[in-house]
Amino acid sequence: MRRLETGGTSIDRSAPLAFTFGGSALRGFAGDTLASALLANGVDVVCPSPILGRPRGVMTAGPEEPSAFVEISAPELDLISAATTVELVDGLVAKGRPGTGRMRLEGAPPPRCEHRYAHCETLVVGAGPAGVAAAREAVAAGDRVILIDERSPHGVDLPEATVLARATALGLYDHGYVVVHERSRPVERLWHVRARRVILATGAHERPIAFAANDRPGVMLASSAAAYVERFGVVPGERAVVFTTNHGAYTAARALRNAGTGIAAIVDVLLEGSAQDAARADGFEVRSGWAIAGTEGDPRVSAVRLVGPGGEEETVKADLVAVSGGWNPVVQLWRAIGGGLRWDEALATFVPNGVGPSWLEVVGTATGEGLPTSAPYWYVPADDLSSHFVDFQRDQTVADVIDAVEGGLRSVEHVKRATYIGTAVDQGRTSGVLTAGIVNLLQGAGADAQGPTNARPPYTPVSFAALAGPHGGARLDPARTTSIHPWHADHGAVFENVGQWKRPWFFPRTGEDLDEAVRRECLAVRTGVGMMDASTLGKIEVVGPDAAVFLDRMYTNRMSNLAVGSIRYGLMCGLDGMVMDDGVAMRSAEDRYLVTTTTGGAAKVLDRFEEWLQTEWNDLRVYCTSVTEQWAVVAVNGPRARDVVAAAGTDIDLSAEAFPHMTLRHGTVAEAPARLARVSFSGELAYEVHVAARYGSHVWESLTGAGEPFGITAYGTEAMHVLRAEKGYVIVGQDTDGTLTPFDLGMSWIVNERKGDFIGRRSFRRADTAREDRKHLVGLLPLEPDALIPEGAQLVQEDTGRIPMPMVGHVTSSYRSAILERTFALAMLASGRERIGTTVFAPLPEGTVAATVTEPIFYDLEGARRDG
């Protein structure tokens, strides 16, 4: 193997490049692939085969390569690629890598990859003659045209089209949606293309023939051997045997001979014909009806054993075997989107049958057009078929296929799964039709009985970095923040994720851990005053003459008799009667409510409202509008809450008489137009200050300033959770899990079955829902007041010490309470209400915790504090 002095349409001899392979310093030219440069440097063995460890070299000149795999460590990290698809660059460092890439995180970062959306009337895949002609025609018709090719096509002069080089269609999807990976530098692009029409001009791949030791370095596909001469000026061997089923390989033989490769023989499995005669006239030795029995050499081919029609054998010296078992149109993209295939007897292969998506066409060689006629010849018969390789990347041979078929597998899909043929990164480009042919033959079926197995996207491997593109790191998922977020960040808040929202979890002071900060925040609310950012609560304006009727049907309790200016807590159930969300409804006018939802439930509840209004109750005159982001909400909680709101300045009469619990007023707070709601999730005197989001940080800061004399303390979601649990207020999604009814939660008071139908009502009568021994929400007080039972802990009635024990429930919330000076928990317990006063046990690896079952309320049982 050597580089010719001249020639090579792809390379630029004025641009020499240095690279390293397997530790050796080598040289190539710009335009080389790693494979062509390795051949030019006389490198026979690229990598060992993945399972058997047999030496393997370059077999093809394109993405169909099943043999020569490499790992690249510079200038960019590439864990595994076919050497035939790696463009040579200066400073490239590579080594052989059989089979599977090994993930590693060190080394050069992957190139930046942008994502691009594009729309066109015509997308053409493949910039060969047929593709360029199709693109030209579409341009002439006024289409927006995108023409892509996985190589760097020369001489495509089509300025009106978007021509993408080094661009592979990874997959075709419904309605002309095509994902294209463009390996441009310095920035890669992943294109999401919507095309009205897609034209596949993907050409064809040559296929091998299976014979003994057909994997030895020096065995190559015939057209690939010729391509190395033509495109790269590289002679892939000094003396070749050409082995063919078709006249196409005669062209390759001529190209090799012109480059100085001696042709020992053209071994043609067909009997005499005009191609053979013409070749003989040209001075070639043609062996019609012969085949290759096997190869010898270590590791590279040095001799080829030929077998004649009568079984006679002859060995010839050669270092190159150029094989052509016929041609397969590249139909993977066509098939993966549902296009059909038909067997073409003359070409001895499967071609598109024209039955596919209306927006998809196949043109040129990919239809079979122009391919040489061939014979369905798959492997050279022999007693020992165990080195007749079919899938080189999976080290699978004809013997393995026979094993699978004799084992009773009939479908090629089953044979694929038994042998793994076609499951490597090349997805059976060279082995698919070959395997189908062998299976059909073994079963005595026609060659058309079964086609190759299906290939799935991506057509060629693509890195996760490219798929992630700009959506990596901090932009993996949007972090939603409230108008008050900058204050939280400035004041050392530790955030927790609630859906996409960043919510302050707690505000540690210097040296404080979570427990200490939460204890301080809780005590402030119970004994003084605290404030929290509640802006993330979902908010929906429900407007219209039937708003009251509508809400009566959505919530389990009655909302229609709520007075204007009043607020009511409500539960929402699914059709199954299980609690799905909660919140309050504030009636601001006869025909207008503002309802709040949980932070995580905002979108879901609005969708649900719209679904019922649009599909079931379109007679109701109600409109819903999401105003979650319109309003910043500051919750001021604690015995001094009234003092703080007053000190911040308001024109609203805050007295308990004028403005009682569960009512709302409009006015100003700290000069900002505000809605003030007396809603308490802590059980303390509390005001929610709602202002337009633009005033959020101003009002927050005003309340902070006004609250300073009262020791106002910012608190986060953890303190909120503790405070509400002390009062036994559930959090939907923490204490509930989609399997609990309001009755299970001990909230029968919120289910009003007299008001008429509502969602979930009829399910309350299901035998299972009405069962007496369902799990009930209860409180737990560990006998040891410092023992904290982990949330999720299972409960047993009796600690037998022997696993398994019958489990009777589980802990849903568990905290240390500052005000109670002890731990406590909420739990779901079978027949829990009947167990109040008894003891249950939480067996834990570090010891069993015993706890008394209580009512699910621990503080201010009479509820006087919130009315303050």
């Binding site: 691009r116 920035v187 959506h471 932009r475 939603r480 923040t481 509008t625 319109q630 000069e671 005033y695």
Partner: protein
């Protein structure tokens, strides 16, 4: 009265936004319009003629006239835009004209933040994060759409000189980060 105490969700990102012009060599100019008045109107389409402005009935189109614009958001939903501070006026105009009909008029001026993009690179920039076809063949002055830009829900509004983007304030920081990344050199 309270304009001094009002704060835009993008107040802390104005330098970042202004920097995009120089990073892109003037290809993309980004301007933040604080406190754009926005009122959400829900109304049966048969009653659209009662509105004080021509409400577009063709999906994904907008009407613009003087200080008002009306964007089609759905078969019975429009977003009315006006200069900062005009939301109450807009609401009153609508209430007066639609008195006696079933409608919903909700001030949503703080539900979304307004950005205006201009420059020759806008279409290409948006193509990095928006799956809609923004080619003049299908997207022209007066087009509008509710869509995703990167992973943020936005309303796009093609105006005579600029492309308007309305984004929920909670996503504003994310979107600015994405815009900075998408316009950075080498992009």
């Amino acid at each position: 009265m309270t304009v001094e105490v009002a704060r835009s969700p993008l107040a802390h990102r104005l330098d970042d936004l202004a920097g995009i012009e120089s990073v892109t060599g003037g290809d993309v100019v980004l301007e933040h319009v604080p406190f754009l008045a926005q009122v959400d109107l829900r109304l049966a389409p048969e009653l659209a003629t009662r509105a004080p402005y021509p409400l577009p009935l063709t999906p994904n189109t907008a009407w613009e006239g003087g200080p008002r614009a009306a964007l089609w958001l759905g078969p019975d939903e429009w977003l009315i835009l006006g200069p900062p501070g005009s939301q109450s006026t807009i609401a009153h105009e609508l209430e007066a004209a639609l008195d006696g009909t079933h409608r919903s008029i909700v001030d949503v001026s703080d539900n979304r933040v307004a950005l205006e993009l201009s420059g020759p690179g806008v279409q290409e920039l948006l193509a990095k994060g928006c799956s809609l076809d923004l080619d003049p063949r299908s997207w022209r002055v007066g087009s509008c759409a509710q869509t995703l830009l990167a992973r943020a829900q936005v309303i796009l509004h093609e105006r005579a000189e600029t492309t308007g983007i309305l984004v929920p304030p909670s996503f504003a920081d994310y979107l600015v980060d994405w815009l900075l990344d998408a316009t950075r050199a080498g992009g």
